[in-house]
């Protein structure tokens, strides 16, 4: 893990409150893979803690890393005002990331959980999975983003809360509706969605990797702020708790209690 002062190469407004940003940080892209995240630091000296944001894409040759983020509060709002050429402090890559052990993969992304699915889809594609073997189920609030990028390498299914795009409902509804199957589910999104997926995958006995979120302080494994409850006693913590930042953020669905 490194802390570096990255240069912003591109900042782009996508939709609603969602932005895409490319950062130059070769030291990080060298090691980065899907499911991991980076910590971004604000320039506002009254907001000190790093903001964890998932890696959405990387261009290893050019040392570029992409994040797609929602302006949820003051910190991310500040990130959205940065322009290409500006700098931002970044540590990463953090966390374990997804295991690329699927032969027929179902990727489920909800809301701001969609971005990390893009790099995952690319990595699965690079591993040899065909477009048909990568089903991507995206759950939007209302408007869509990143869809065309997914379509290049995967079969995309869409649901939305409003029904304005795709089928009305959530990613599980879409999965059932389109009868999507596979031998591994990969998921990222809000907790209620992950709970539903956890149940779905247990009922249907499909191995599932989910990416969790929790409030973080250090973002690097030291403070024990970001734990999730686990079903078994964890070797590191000696209790039924694991750190999302470094032991995760990706867990097998049956390992954790949501």
């Amino acid at each position: 893990m490194k802390k570096i002062n990255a240069t912003i190469i591109e900042q782009k407004y996508l939709i609603e409150d969602i932005f895409s940003m490319w950062l130059k940080c070769p030291d990080i892209t060298d090691e980065a893979h899907s499911g991991q995240f980076v910590n971004l630091y604000t320039k506002d000296s009254s907001r000190l803690l790093p903001r964890p944001i998932s890696i959405c894409d990387v261009n290893r040759e050019e040392g570029l890393l992409r994040i797609v983020y929602r302006t949820a509060g003051e910190g991310t709002r500040q990130f959205s005002t940065l322009k290409s050429g500006d700098n931002i402090e970044v540590t990463g890559p953090v966390g374990n990331g997804y295991e690329l052990n699927a032969s027929k993969a179902v990727l489920m992304g909800g809301g701001i959980g969609i971005p990390p699915m893009l790099l995952l889809a690319k990595e699965l594609s690079e591993k040899g999975l065909s477009r048909d073997d990568i089903a991507v189920v995206l759950g939007f609030r209302d408007g869509t983003f990143l869809v065309d990028e997914f379509e290049k390498i995967a079969t995309v299914y869409i649901s939305s809360d409003s029904g304005s795009v795709g089928i009305k409902g959530n990613v599980i509804d879409a999965t059932k509706h389109y009868d999507i199957t596979g031998d591994m589910i990969y998921a990222c999104g809000p907790k209620p969605m992950l709970r539903a997926i956890q149940q779905y995958s247990s009922e249907n006995s499909i191995k599932t990797q989910i990416s969790l979120e929790e409030r973080m302080a250090c973002g690097i494994g030291a403070c024990l702020a970001c734990v999730t409850r686990t079903t078994e006693v964890d070797e590191h913590s000696q209790v039924k708790n694991r750190r999302i930042c470094v032991d995760g953020p990706v867990f097998y669905a049956e390992e954790v209690e949501l």
Partner: protein, 307 residues
């Protein structure tokens, strides 16, 4: 060049020699392992480990932290893996480094503290013990040992009976009279004091109409608390004569020097590690630069110099 060689940052702390006065605040640095990508642990005066109890503790439900202006609130709830694995894994890890080790200890009762201290007396690689008395005292309805002078005096005495290493009592700032607490600990036999632990605070999420940390209250730390910490270190340094580890909001060499001039022998870097993983190194280098600039040959010249 000559002048540079004369800067001596070393500190003798309760008979333990430290290469410089900078350590880390318990709970903010794991056992050092997590920061090894950023910090060469050999450069630290000492590593202070996350609070450890005799058995594993689960800690509090999440969210455990909230960000506030110039700092954070935490209610980790002293999650720790217990003494066995701590001794086998964390202490072993630290043996590879040329730095001192301060083990921070917690417990739910006097007996638990004493048992932990006894275990640590038997193992190698522990230079000093730091006793976190801000733990909930289960016998007294969850009130912390650290806010009642007689409870503090008593627990210090019991620990001192068993401890083989020098004992640092870590004071809570949530008291009316910090000097009274310091005297209670020193009267109980404390070899040194460290302060401040976190200040009890609360944040409310007005949109969700709920507490920002699940535990309702948590401990405030970070730059926001520094003026309170400096004041308390000054008061304690002028009330007792044991050495002090000062902490609370230190994020720069200037901050560290404030604590030293207020009377601290050593300083701990806590929350600052979270927003600047190199903070300890920057602070060590900054203190050295200050000493050179001001022609200070030893920290004795400035320790407690502001009266």
């Amino acid at each position: 060049m000559d002048n540079q060689n004369l800067v001596d940052m070393s500190v003798d702390f309760c008979g333990v020699s430290m290469k410089n006065p900078v350590t880390v605040a318990s709970g903010t640095f794991g056992s050092g392992m997590e920061y090894k990508d950023f910090v060469d642990l050999n450069r630290l005066g000492a590593v202070t480990t996350k609070g450890v109890a005799i058995t594993p503790w689960e800690g509090n439900p999440t969210p455990r932290i909230a960000e506030v202006y110039g700092g954070m609130i935490n209610a980790i709830g002293l999650q720790n893996p217990g003494m066995d694995i701590f001794v086998k894994r964390d202490l072993e890890f630290l043996k590879d480094f040329d730095t001192r080790v301060i083990v921070n200890v917690c417990g739910h009762s006097v007996a638990e503290y004493v048992e932990a201290v006894e275990r640590l007396s038997e193992v190698s690689g522990v230079d000093l013990l730091e006793i976190n008395v801000s733990c909930p005292n289960v016998k007294e309805g969850g009130i912390a040992f650290g806010v009642d002078p007689s409870a503090l005096n008593n627990i210090t005495k019991e620990i001192k009976k068993k401890a083989k290493q020098p004992v640092i009592m870590k004071l809570s700032p949530n008291v009316t009279d910090i000097a009274e607490m310091a005297r209670a600990a020193v009267d109980g036999g404390a070899d040194a004091l460290s302060l401040i632990n976190t200040i009890t605070g609360m944040k409310i999420d007005i949109n969700r109409r709920t507490f920002a940390v699940a535990n309702r209250t948590g401990g405030l730390s970070g730059p926001a608390v520094k003026p309170v910490a400096v004041r308390m270190v000054y008061q304690v340094a002028n009330a007792v004569s044991v050495p002090i580890i000062g902490m609370g909001g230190i994020s720069s060499a200037e901050d560290a020097l404030e604590f030293i001039m207020a009377g601290a022998s050593m300083v701990s870097v806590g929350t600052a590690n979270f927003f600047d993983p190199y903070a300890t190194i920057h602070i060590i280098e900054g203190i050295e630069a200050f000493m050179k600039k001001e022609g200070i040959k030893s920290l004795d010249e400035i320790r407690g110099c502001v009266k």
